[in-house]
């Protein structure tokens, strides 16, 4: 019995840890949607761009300076996006803003690689690479825990706590939520829409940088980081587009669900099911809660 429980717990734990990493990317989507009503398709590209910026700057600067400079570059990127793309589109339909973010994605993908290169860059944050083995005994062979995954989990937890305080306890946070509800109404009561957008895209840029660090430490910094963002989509479908805790819980459910499915159901399908299985889980949840687990139910009177 213990022989079977050990591997199960290991897959479950591995899945939960992977889920935290998905949640880190999902957080960026949720932030921008929550504060501006825009589904930012460029979040994955921002993760790649931020991580590439950091890793290349670390070649010439110490980590702290490189991190600070990367944050500044992400803010500058947010400024450029606000000025050149979002400002001309104020009060346009959400779908038009979404399409604009697709354009931003392709631009950032190409520009980032042109500027920083297309190789795989190693991001060393000094974390131990060898796994920790816990619960041995009682479980034969124990359970492996990756230090990198633990780092990501702790970082995600800290980010969520910080963002929750920011949104609920600060004046800017309340203004962000007001803008999300209605651009025009927010402007009419004196909330500076452009400044709010700049702030939220900057925060999303810094979240992308942290997500890029976590993923980059694990995979190396390279183009595939942009594709990892696709893993965040089922997470936000499940967790709800407007909920920060939803992104975390959604990430955990998707991460654990897909890994368990791959190991225990996958062989019956020839393997390789985890990518689409994540969407199956998300769609099943949508059947019962169309707004996602923690999303806001939108009721419009007609």
């Amino acid at each position: 019995m213990l022989e079977e429980i050990g591997p199960f717990l290991e897959v479950l734990l591995g899945g939960l840890m992977a889920g935290v990493l998905y949640a880190l990317v999902a957080l960026g989507f949720v932030l921008i949607f929550k504060a501006s009503g825009v589904f930012n398709f460029a979040q994955g590209a921002m993760v790649l761009f931020a991580a590439l910026t950091l890793v290349r700057l670390m070649e010439v600067l110490p980590f702290v300076l490189a991190f600070a400079a990367s944050c500044a570059i992400m803010v500058a990127l947010a400024f450029a996006i606000e000025r050149l793309v979002l400002r001309p589109l104020v009060n346009q339909e959400g779908l038009i803003l979404f399409m604009a973010t697709i354009g931003i994605t392709f631009f950032i993908d190409g520009f980032g690689q042109t500027l920083w290169g297309s190789d795989i860059y190693t991001l060393e944050l000094g974390l131990p690479k060898s796994p920790w083995i816990i619960l041995d005994p009682p479980l034969p062979g124990g359970i492996l825990v990756s230090p990198v995954d633990v780092f990501a989990a702790v970082t995600a937890g800290a980010l969520v706590a910080g963002l929750a305080v920011f949104f609920n306890r600060t004046k800017v946070g309340r203004a962000l939520r007001a803008v999300a509800d209605d651009h025009q109404a927010a402007q009419s009561v004196g909330i500076p829409l452009n400044t709010i957008w700049l702030i939220v895209w900057s925060v999303a840029g810094v979240v992308a940088l942290v997500a890029g660090m976590a993923w980059g430490t694990k995979l190396g910094v390279q183009f595939s980081l942009a594709l990892v963002a696709l893993k965040a989509i089922p997470v936000i479908i499940l967790g709800g587009l407007t909920s920060i805790p939803g992104a975390i819980v959604g990430g955990l459910i998707i991460g654990a669900g897909e890994k368990l499915a791959e190991v225990y159901i996958g062989p019956a399908f020839g393997g390789g099911i985890e990518n689409w299985f994540a969407y199956v889980v998300a769609l099943l949840f949508l059947l019962f809660r169309p707004q996602g687990l923690f999303g806001e139910r939108i009721i419009e009177r007609v």
Binding site: Q113, S118, I120, T122, K129, F223, S224, E262, G266
Partner: protein
């Protein structure tokens, strides 16, 4: 302002005239050398050194020799991003330039599968050195395909020969476990039939675990490996999948010296991002890495010392750079062979196909062109479009690749009937009448 506009117009007209002149010059003495590359995207870290090797060899032939027998090579790249649709688009765009392409090397099994249907109609050879469809080694059916140096079936057979030897002989393989971690694509699936055949013959337990594109999600696969504890893990990955596999192997404490990559999973971009963790990792090698060969001396002298190299200087000699050099050299030698038959003028795809089919790279010729020690002799024929099927195993020591085996030749007696059966099935499906090679 007016002066600036006039200047711009003058520059545009001059550029246009220069283009026209170049066009007429190329019609007289240039051959269309299209190159499908991927310098961006998920597979760029592996695509770039290969493309650089190709570009440098073409530049070397143009710079040093003035082309092939006086005919310059008009090198043009098209970015595929390793995507089949973009690869086909590039092919369509480039195939007709300058009177027709000499050959295509897509460096993608997916693109190769798609182009295999197109090249017979366009009469352009498809050179897939070390990749592509394994059954395309049968030249009677696959007239236009040339999987020179070795197919994936050859690679799988060579790997099994090696691990059998390492294990102490065929009788020691019974009861062993081999797990294949493969890219879930036509490329990754190629070795499965051969590994299954050998499992039935030698008695080892075989398991295949797919990893979906681009290969960064492997945790579930490696947790399965941790539970199953196979004796050997074969890695059939590409791009970031390979370095991710090594990192995941570290995360589950799987020994790297029990891992064996195919020759597309055993280059610097696969091991360098993992630092010392890749020490002991093994892979197949179609050729050595390094710059201790005459061709590199020439490349440095004629290109890099004059600021004309494509790669970073320190990356010249990396595994995939050398493979790019070799790939281009094979095409150049096929064109030379064709010119002996058809004269020193720009060759058509059809003529280059003849050159490839009659390619006979002897040890003497290899030495003459500066590839001594880098490649072994290759002899292509109508029946055999593979030409040679040998590889060595090399191991990463943290800084360099070192050979840990001699050349191992794939077992033709076993593979040839399999190739012919698969080619016959393809010809029946596509209603292609096989050529006679007698």
């Amino acid at each position: 302002m007016q002066a600036r506009i006039t200047g711009a117009l003058a520059a545009a007209i001059t550029a246009g005239l220069a283009g026209l002149w170049a066009g007429s010059a190329s019609a007289q003495g240039e051959m269309n050398w299209p190159t499908l590359v991927y310098r961006t995207g998920a597979y760029a870290p592996n695509g770039i050194p290969f493309a650089n090797g190709q570009a440098d060899y073409v530049a070397l032939v143009n710079e040093r020799d003035g082309g092939i027998n006086g005919v310059k090579l008009a090198y043009e790249e098209c970015e595929t991003g390793y995507a089949t649709d973009r690869g086909v688009e590039c092919y369509e765009r480039l195939k007709g330039k300058l009177g027709g392409a000499v050959a295509f090397s897509p460096l993608s099994t997916g693109i190769t599968f798609a182009l295999t249907e197109k090249v017979p109609g366009d009469k352009i050879p498809l050179l897939t050195a070390g990749y592509g469809r394994s059954e395309s080694a049968d030249g009677r059916v696959f007239t236009w395909n040339f999987p020179l140096l070795g197919t994936y079936w050859s690679a799988a057979d060579i790997l099994i020969q090696h691990v059998t030897k390492v294990s102490g002989g065929a009788d020691k393989m019974k009861g062993k476990k081999i797990t294949l971690v493969y890219h879930d694509s036509p490329y990754g699936k190629e070795p499965i039939p051969v590994l299954q055949d050998h499992a039935a013959k030698l008695g080892y337990k075989f398991e295949a675990i797919p990893v979906t594109h681009p290969g960064v999600e492997q945790k579930a696969a490696w947790l399965q490996i941790r539970q199953g504890r196979p004796d050997f893990v074969f890695l059939w990955g590409w791009g970031v999948m390979n370095s991710t596999a090594i990192k995941e192997a570290v995360a589950v404490n799987y020994p790297r010296n029990k891992m064996y990559g195919v020759w597309w999973a055993a280059a610097e971009p696969d091991v360098m991002p993992t630092g010392d963790d890749a020490k002991g990792y093994n892979g197949l090698a179609l050729h050595p890495s390094g710059t201790a060969f005459q061709v590199h001396t020439e490349v440095f002298k004629h290109l890099y010392d004059r600021g004309k190299g494509t790669s970073k200087r320190e990356e010249v000699g990396h595994v995939l750079y050398n493979r790019g050099l070799i790939d281009a050299m094979l095409k150049v030698e096929a064109i030379r062979t064709a010119m002996k038959q058809y004269g020193n003028k720009p060759m058509t795809g059809e003529q280059v196909r003849w050159g490839l089919e009659n390619l006979n790279l002897t040890a003497e010729r290899i030495k003459e062109i500066g590839f001594d020690g880098l490649v072994t002799p290759i002899k292509v024929s109508c029946l055999d479009h593979e030409g040679s099927r040998k590889a060595r195993v090399h191991q990463w020591d943290g800084k360099h690749w070192n050979f840990v085996s001699d050349w191992i030749e794939a077992d033709t007696k076993y593979l040839r009937p399999k190739v012919e059966a698969a080619a016959a099935a393809y010809s029946a499906e596509k209603k292609i009448a096989p050529r006679s090679c007698s």
